[in-house]
Amino acid sequence: MSSSVSYKHGSPLLRRTVRELSKPEKIIGMILLVLLVFFVLMPAINLVLTSFSFSLSDRRLPEVIDRGIKVVPGQFTLIHLERVFFSKLTSKMFLIPLMNSAVVTLGLTVLSMAIGCILAYLVVRTNLPFKKAIANIAMVPYIIPSWPISLAWLTLFKNSKVGGSAGLFQYLFHVSPPDWISYGPVPIIICLSLHYYAFAFITVSGALASIDSQLEETAALLGASRIQVMKKVTLPLVLPAILSAFILTFSKGLGTFGTPAFLGLPVRYYTLATQIYGNVKNNLAGDAYLIAIVMIIISSLTIYMNVKVIGARKSYVTIAGKGFRSQPMNLGKWKWLLFALVVLFLLCAVFLPLYLLTWQTFMEVNGDYSLSNFTLHYWIGESGALGKAGTLLGEGQAGILRDSEIYRGAWNSIKLSLTVSFLAAILGILLGYAIVRGRGTKLSVGCDVLSFAPYIFPGIAFGAVYLSMFSQRMGPIPSLYGTFALLVLVSLAKRMPFSSRTGSSAMMQIDKSLEEAATLVGAGFWTKFKRIIYPLTKSGFVSGFLLSFISTMRELSLIVLIVTPANKVLTTMIFRYTEGGYHQYGDAITMLLVVMSMGGTILIKMFQGKDLAKGVAE
């Protein structure tokens, strides 16, 4: 073949290597895999290694001193394993927190599933009045962080036993609420349920809305009663959604930190997450990470169950076609009673917490709810202003809107969220590309698995590992201790499961042939990305960006250990103020954060509404 001579440069092997390596999904996949290995796999390995080796601070462990062990940092040891699982500390450090976590997590999961499912049914399937408005308001707890509710709880039910001033309840009724109402599992479960019911609500109402009511009508025509229809048709159809909401809520609830910290730590009620925090704070990283490993195992098991139980059944929820009509159930005389109950619930879950928090920010002296106690100091007061009793207000601190520290924190929060969400959105699309287009290859599986892995890490432990890993020089990376970059890295890594899911599902919607049609006329990867992939994934890109923005804004557990005074963000400032008993400041900043989160969500809604326009819909 004379014409083929022109190809005979170099060896076939070289040509093959060059060609394989120049496939875009391969290059991207390999770069991403290297990054994932560095920022996900290595921290995971570090977590395990730290659990089974000595660190310098282990010199002061009683076991080490008693047995006269010579501590060589980095050397293998089972001493942490022994301390956590087989010593007299075990019950205090592991078993009790494990029990507490189980109680809290199961409690909040069951309660929030019940609330979410009932609300979803009422909103989607009945003629409840003002359904649209109710559905929108019911989403609010999902938008704001989970722990402001716990702060509001304290405002309401704090008793004087722990110190500081008591809450509204005691003020009004002059009775100190018992400890079990003020602190511990009961308030933690209630507060978290008021946040997490939103998962069940969103998932189950989505599934209910996709059921063709003809399926139910057919059963009714065949003689099934309303209860039978519910049991035999509706429930089995939404069961996969219910199960997956259950598991999502469970694994989210297990790792939650803010609320158990605010409502548990004052009475030494530890869950696994707050126990990890305590251990890390006490320089017991090895012990902490072992507990983290237990949490990772539990999370993995729930996900495994999710796949096992739901995997095969998930499919038929989506079978329902488009143009069907859903017949709402007539609630009859119960209509207004149920409506009143729902409104009451939403008042308690949504408006009351925000109202109480706002109120508290206007109180000069905490715990005095009379009008004479009203002050704007905590918002706009001058530094060093004196209160009515002639004492310094807020120990001389200015109101948050006059405090340059707050502005710095707010700016840091925004800067962090913007950076993280921008990078997360880009990485999400690239991950989606590498995973979907390279499907079936080891590279694709590697990217998929590693990008999902941070999901099962408790945020607090992930943050702790990053802190210890990147505090010293790591290969080409200099020490990042106390830098903004470390915050970005850890937040970005923790966002990867969501980004890669968003990216993959966006990429899955772009049929391969749309890209190939461009390949045929000579478009390279960059052209295809710019002219086809990006325009078609844009809406996913932007809403993914905004979702990352909001969740980074409210992130606490992940960065609470990492943040240093130089780069503090709003959430950690709230944590410190509340920890120190400066509730007015903490609440005021919380309100600031809530307003920012809500603003962001309204932006998402506006954007999504606009972008679902013509062209891209198909």
């Binding site: 073949m1 083929s4 190809y7 076939p12 093959r16 049609a517 045929l520 062209g615």
Partner: protein, 362 residues
């Protein structure tokens, strides 16, 4: 290689792990021909097409286009699709939903970095050609299926490829439109003279449009011939069965030797044959096309089960014990369900297959 070979495929194999989508196939496609790759789903026809286009990298073999080696596994040569002189219509059309009809068609020229006014001139001309001249500013989802199809055709034509590749382009259209588009595609082929490789699982589409049909199964080519030869002389049982509508009739037939003559006998029908055809065999498979059954007073007696008028003719479903027969007959033959008729086979209008190899022996 003959002078007018446009595409040549040599010993091509594409394996996904252990599964071979195409297994060592070779094809010579003449310049200007319309060749259809026909077969059931999963037979490897689309993979073959995509390998020619350069969208799929085979695991062994060679491909030449215009006498130029564009793929060779041994030499690790893979020429980019854009340099293969091809245009492709995807089954889904693959129109970019975020681009207007105009932009969809213009894309190939934009890639060639042609000046804007030149692009406009060419796109406008082609839009007129496919009667879409008023719809340039529309988006694909604002068009009907047939219009989308024409956009896909226009997008393929715009770069003036010497080879058209079409992957089941009509399968998403309704029956009426499909008939119209068949003639449209055939006209396109006649006017442009471009070599066309067409993939379909619809044997009627293949029969009506192609100069050559290549029947594939399980990644292997079973027969490649003109539609006529394929219909009259199917290479094996699979091809005979696949190329038949209404269904071809198959019978296990015995070989009878009576008074020095050799017959095949099935369902009460006896046909005199040349003894050399069957050799030492005692049994064979006989295939008769529905239109090759005729009324014959010496033939086999069948019950009429149903009678389906199709307008110009009628389809009779017949039954005789455990055997049945489908017969297409002129509509002037008046029969009613429940009646019996006697049928035989038109002279030499049948095929005989070996039972073991399933290959045609007559």
């Amino acid at each position: 290689m003959s002078k007018n070979t446009k595409i040549r495929v040599e010993n091509l194999t594409k394996a996904w792990g252990k599964v071979k989508a195409i297994n060592n196939i070779s094809l010579d496609i003449e310049d200007g021909s319309f060749i259809t790759l026909l077969g059931p789903s999963g037979c490897g026809k689309t993979t073959t097409l995509r390998a020619i286009a350069g969208l799929e990298e085979p695991t062994a073999g060679k491909i030449y286009i215009n006498d130029k080696l564009v793929f060779s596994k041994k030499d690790e040569i893979v020429v980019d699709p854009v340099k293969r002189d091809i245009g492709l219509i995807f089954q889904s059309y693959a129109l970019w939903p975020h681009m207007t009809v105009y932009d969809n068609i213009a894309f190939g020229l934009v890639m060639k970095k042609l000046p804007k006014d030149e692009i406009k001139k060419q796109v406008d001309k082609i839009l007129k050609n496919v009667s879409l001249d008023k719809l340039g500013e529309r988006y694909p989802n604002e068009l009907s299926g047939g219009q989308q199809q024409r956009v896909a055709i226009a997008r393929m034509l715009i770069t003036k490829p010497g080879i058209f590749l079409m992957d089941e382009p009509l399968s998403n259209l309704d029956a009426k439109l499909r008939m119209d588009m068949r003639s449209e595609v055939k006209r396109l082929h006649q006017e442009s003279g471009a070599t066309t490789v067409y993939v379909t699982h619809d044997q009627e589409e293949a029969m009506t449009m192609s100069t050559h049909i290549c029947v594939m199964k399980d990644g292997v080519i079973r027969q490649m011939d003109s539609p006529e030869v394929l219909y009259k002389k199917p290479a094996d049982l699979f091809v005979a069965d696949f190329i038949s509508n209404p269904k071809m009739n198959f019978y296990d037939a015995a070989i009878l030797h009576e008074e020095g003559k050799t017959y095949i006998s099935f369902a009460g029908i006896k046909i005199l044959i040349d003894p050399e055809t069957v050799g030492e065999r005692h049994k064979v498979k006989v295939a008769v096309r529905p239109e090759d059954f005729v009324l014959d007073s010496n033939g086999g007696e069948f019950n009429v089960v149903t009678q389906l008028p199709t307008g110009p003719s009628q389809i009779l479903n017949l039954e005789k014990g455990s055997e049945d027969a489908t017969m297409v007959s002129p509509d002037y033959i008046r029969v009613n369900p429940g009646e019996t008729i006697k049928i035989g086979v038109k002279k030499d209008s049948y095929n005989i297959f070996d039972l073991e190899t399933e290959k045609r022996i007559f």
